[in-house]
């Protein structure tokens, strides 16, 4: 099973992070990366070099909010949580993506 290079993921990293966080709990960066890999059955691998700048960018954009809290192994970690604005952004990006994916699939199928 091949792995998708992180550049190809980059465009949709925001979408994935928002979708993961939309499940409700606040999570730290490592957990988010793990979750994406786990749910994609290791097809999508998230690089730290893009994940963290993206998290900080979304934090500044107001889509997610961060706070420092104790992790389960009692270390201080930065936890991210989705905001209302983030949910709106997610909805938009999600429908855009589904539309595009659908369209691409149709082209591939019919051409």
């Amino acid at each position: 099973m091949g792995k998708i290079k992180k550049d190809q993921l980059l465009g949709k990293l925001d979408l994935l992070v928002l979708r993961i966080l939309a499940c409700g709990d606040s999570m730290h960066g490592y957990a988010i990366a793990e979750r994406i890999e786990q749910l994609s059955e290791n097809v999508l691998q998230v690089g730290e070099g893009s994940l963290y700048p993206a998290l900080h960018r979304m934090d500044e954009s107001g889509w997610i909010r961060s706070e420092w809290a104790a992790s389960d192994n009692n270390r201080r970690a930065r936890y991210y949580r989705i905001t209302a604005a983030g949910r709106r952004q997610l909805e938009e990006e999600e429908s855009d993506w589904l539309l595009a994916a659908d369209a691409i699939a149709r082209v591939l199928r019919l051409a």
Partner: protein, 876 residues
């Protein structure tokens, strides 16, 4: 909120760094644990994680960028860099800061003065609605005019007046003169002042015949009463009458503006005794007591409305008062009053001074900026290599320009901060130099607005002086900039443009100085009409009678003093006069000659003792002077000046004509030369002299002509007066020469002031030219050396060095001259003078400028011609 956090993050980069590290470190540890959980050894896990995560420096940079205000963060970086660079060159940097501190400090100081004059509230209640009522010829109303206005006004809600005079304080040791104001009871409530102890005056105390009361100023209470806490109820003997102290004013209160005709701080206040049935007296007729009238406009009333209200009053007064000339009813304009905002009246003639100051310091700051720009330009080009390297590493042009501007800003802020510190002192020094006491300007202080202004001009000057070096310095061309042989030929046109601007600005100031100086020269060279040498003038006031009524007995009493003084050996002549030249007493009115068709003219009048013309050296042109025999209870004789005769179309034959007077005709017995009575700059005015033995005020000037030294003379004069009346105080002693000099102190001060500014400007421009020419010469050393080696003459070398520069300087000079000519009208109007610049004055100014320029060019040019070609070329 997020923005605020990003701002804060700029200011605490260490904390941000720590957080980012912590977050990434947590991630690393989680990965490590995950690897170890899969059964890898510690070392293997470590290696795997390092492979997996790689180098996160770039990611961290991106995260940091997200978390800060990016432009601010990079600006701070540039700023830090700028400070380092400035400290590397401390000599030039501190020179720049010093020059800027003086330039900005000067502007800040003048701003505080302007602010005190035009912006800061006056220290009175509701001062924005306070006005003063004046006659349209600039004189002030009399008590009876005040009463008429107060009775009829519909636009002033409250009115008061003050009248200032010297009083004799006796009973406490030596008789002393105090300066007193006689005021209405409404005076203090109108200004919103309550007594610090006791009370101010009651309404009824303005009636005549009430027991005298007095309110002390804080200064008088402290210095003369020893801050006696139980002073209320004490009595003082004022002008021979016992007055009860009823109050002491608060320390901050003062109403003593020389521009309002109040020459010195007031010691004490007494109620003005207003006669119940006062005949209507016009100030212009020399009857009635002139008083300083103040009032408060009703809410929402404009100055124009108040003036038209007063015009209605004037129309009524003209109708109600019969004219002395039958068949010629009064013109209401004779009774017209103007209303002026109290603040404008207080600023008065100092307005012109303030604008001159502002112009001067403004131009100086601009020249300082131009010089700073020169220095920075030279430095920015010296930094070409650094710039080239930074550009090669990816710094954009705008980023580079911003860096230069920020460095300028650092300099300007240092200069501004230092300037703010010196602004106070500069303002103090200017105030001490001021020829006229100015309580309004003395209240100038540095406050938030002054700080804001200083900050603003610092910013503006930073942009002004840093923009050219920034734009020129940030440009680079890869090859030459990086080569070691780079010579700074860049920016010469800008250098020249800047010295042209400096030349224009300093030339502009020189033109202004020339104009003001020419005006002063015109004033002091105008014939006075009298001889001020060896004349001592002093004031005295007879300690008897009602001071506001003319009375021939006063003249007789004064003549006794004069006789004693004339008996002193060495005294050539002595006389009394109601007001000597340049210190005229008020007095005058419409005059008509019997048997002459002219309807009459306004003429000044003076009451003089017989030897007055001899004492002042005023030429008698026809007829005779007064004699001791010209005495009696009513006016019978008069002497007129040349302007008077001229007005009626008469020459010496004016002698023998008669002046119409309700009490009988007055014979004109003499004609004298015209004297500059009012001020040096005012036109001659028709004037009449009357014999003080027929009519005299009890407060007069005494003039004594004697070659004796003034101190010795004064002692003998005082002794002579004391032999007649030991209680007679003499004050206000001045030589006539001092009096003449005093009358031009303000124009003279203007000349010194703008002259100093102009010289500073020329010196700074010369320094700028010197540095530019030196720079150009050093730039072309090798070229000059080669040409000399090839046999070029010294003249040719000088021409090479100077020709471009002199073209620019001449262009600047022409520009400055044009500016000066264009501004001459403005300067004339703000200094309130007539003088137009003469071609000779402009020629002088241009020559002076050229001389200084030549001096600035001579040294570097000489250096160029003395160059030893061999040495110069070897150095290359």
């Amino acid at each position: 909120m997020a923005l605020l956090r990003r701002f804060l993050n700029v200011l605490r980069p260490a904390r941000l760094e720590r957080e980012l590290n912590e977050e990434l470190e947590f991630h690393r540890e989680m990965r490590l644990r995950h690897s170890q959980d899969r059964g890898l050894s510690a070392a293997e896990a470590e290696a795997e994680v390092r492979r997996r995560m790689g180098n996160l420096l770039v990611a961290k940079e991106e995260m940091r960028d997200e978390r800060v205000v990016r432009w601010l963060a990079s600006s701070l970086e540039d700023l830090r860099h700028g400070v380092v660079l400035l400290r590397r060159d401390p000599g030039v940097s501190s020179l720049i800061v010093l020059v800027l501190a003086l330039g900005i400090g000067g502007n800040a100081a003048v701003f505080t003065l302007l602010k005190a004059a035009f912006l800061d509230p006056l220290p009175y209640r509701d001062a924005g609605r306070l006005v003063t009522v004046i006659e349209n010829n600039g004189w002030i109303p009399t008590v009876s005019e005040f009463l008429e206005i107060r009775a009829r006004t519909r636009t002033l809600e409250r009115m008061a007046f003050a009248e200032h005079r010297d009083m004799q304080l006796s009973g406490t040791g030596e008789p002393a003169r105090v300066f007193a104001a006689r005021v209405t009871a409404s005076f203090f409530p109108l200004l919103g002042v309550n007594a610090a102890q006791g009370r101010t005056f009651l309404e009824g105390e303005n009636q005549q015949g009430r027991a005298p009361v007095v309110v002390l100023s804080d200064g008088f209470w402290r210095s003369r009463m020893g801050s006696d806490p139980a002073v209320i109820g004490h009595t003082l003997r004022l002008d021979g009458q016992l007055a009860v102290v009823v109050g002491v004013l608060p320390p901050g209160f003062h109403f003593d503006y020389p521009t309002l005709g109040i020459p010195e701080p007031v010691d004490l206040y007494v109620p003005y005794p207003i006669e119940s049935s006062l005949p209507f007296e016009r100030a212009a007729n020399g009857q009635g007591v002139p008083v300083r009238v103040i009032g408060r406009l009703r809410e929402g009333v404009s100055l124009a409305q108040a003036e038209s209200d007063l015009w209605d009053t004037a129309v009524v007064l003209a109708r109600e008062n019969t004219s002395p000339f039958p068949g010629h009813p009064h013109d209401p304009a004779m009774f017209a009053f103007n209303v002026m905002m109290l603040r404008d009246a207080i600023v008065g003639s100092q307005r012109s001074l303030l604008w001159l100051l502002l112009g001067g310091v403004g131009v100086l700051l601009l020249i300082a900026c131009a010089n700073t720009a020169q220095l920075l330009l030279a430095r920015s080009l010296r930094r070409a290599r650094e710039i080239a390297i930074r550009s090669a590493l990816g710094a954009g042009r705008l980023r580079l320009i911003r860096q230069f501007l920020l460095e300028g800003l650092v300099l300007a802020c240092c200069g501004g901060a230092a300037g703010l510190l010196v602004a106070r002192w500069i303002a103090r020094i200017l105030l001490n130099l001021l020829p006229v006491r100015s309580p309004l300007l003395a209240s100038a202080h540095v406050d938030a607005r002054a700080v804001g202004f200083t900050l603003a001009i610092s910013m503006i000057s930073a942009v002004v002086f840093a923009i050219v070096p920034a734009v020129k310095g940030s440009r680079w061309t890869p090859g030459p900039s990086l080569s070691a042989h780079f010579t700074a030929g860049e920016g010469n046109r800008w250098r020249h443009a800047m010295i042209a601007i400096e030349a224009a600005l300093s030339m502009f100031l020189l033109c202004g100085a020339g104009l003001v100086a020419q005006n002063l020269w015109k004033l002091i060279s105008a014939p006075l009409g009298f001889n001020p040498e060896h004349v001592l003038a002093m004031r005295l006031q007879l300690p008897f009678g009602k001071v506001e009524q003319p009375d021939p007995r006063a003249g007789v009493a004064l003549q006794q003093y004069v006789d004693k003084i004339e008996a002193i050996p060495g005294v050539e002549a002595a006389a009394t006069v109601t007001g000597p030249p340049l210190r005229p007493a008020r007095g005058g009115g419409p005059v008509q000659l019997i048997g002459v068709a002219d309807p009459g003219t306004m003429a000044w009048s003076h009451q003089i003792s017989p030897d007055y013309f001899r004492t002042l050296g005023i030429p008698l042109l026809a007829g005779r002077a007064f004699r001791l025999g010209d005495a009696g209870p009513k006016l019978t004789v008069g002497i007129v000046n040349e302007e008077f005769a001229h007005h009626f179309g008469l020459g010496p034959n004016v002698v023998g004509k008669q002046i119409a007077d309700p009490e009988g005709p007055i014979n004109i017995v003499g004609l004298v030369g015209t004297v500059r009575t009012r001020r040096l700059e005012t036109k001659p005015f028709p004037e009449c002299y009357y014999s003080s033995l027929q009519m005299s005020w009890p407060n007069v000037y005494l003039v004594v002509r004697s070659p004796l030294p003034p101190g010795q003379l004064l002692k003998q004069v005082k002794a002579a007066i004391a032999s007649v009346n030991p209680d007679q105080a003499v004050f206000g002693v001045q030589t006539m020469n001092e009096l003449v000099a005093n009358s031009v102190v303000e124009p003279r001060f203007d000349v010194y002031l703008i002259g100093v500014f102009a010289l500073l400007a020329v010196a700074m421009a010369a320094a700028g030219m010197y540095s530019v020419i030196s720079f150009l010469v050093s730039q072309r050393t090798s070229e000059i050396a080669i040409r000399m080696a090839l046999g070029a003459s010294r003249a040719a070398i000088v021409k090479t060095v100077l020709v471009t520069t002199s073209l620019w300087v001449v262009a600047g000079l022409a520009g400055g001259l044009g500016l000066g000519l264009a501004a001459s009208k403005a300067i004339r109007s703000i200094t309130n003078t007539e003088a137009a610049g003469s071609p000779a004055m402009y020629a002088t100014v241009v020559l002076l400028f050229l001389a200084v320029t030549l001096l600035a060019a001579y040294l570097p040019a000489r250096r160029a011609t003395r160059l030893d070609p061999a040495t110069a070329l070897r150095c290359e």
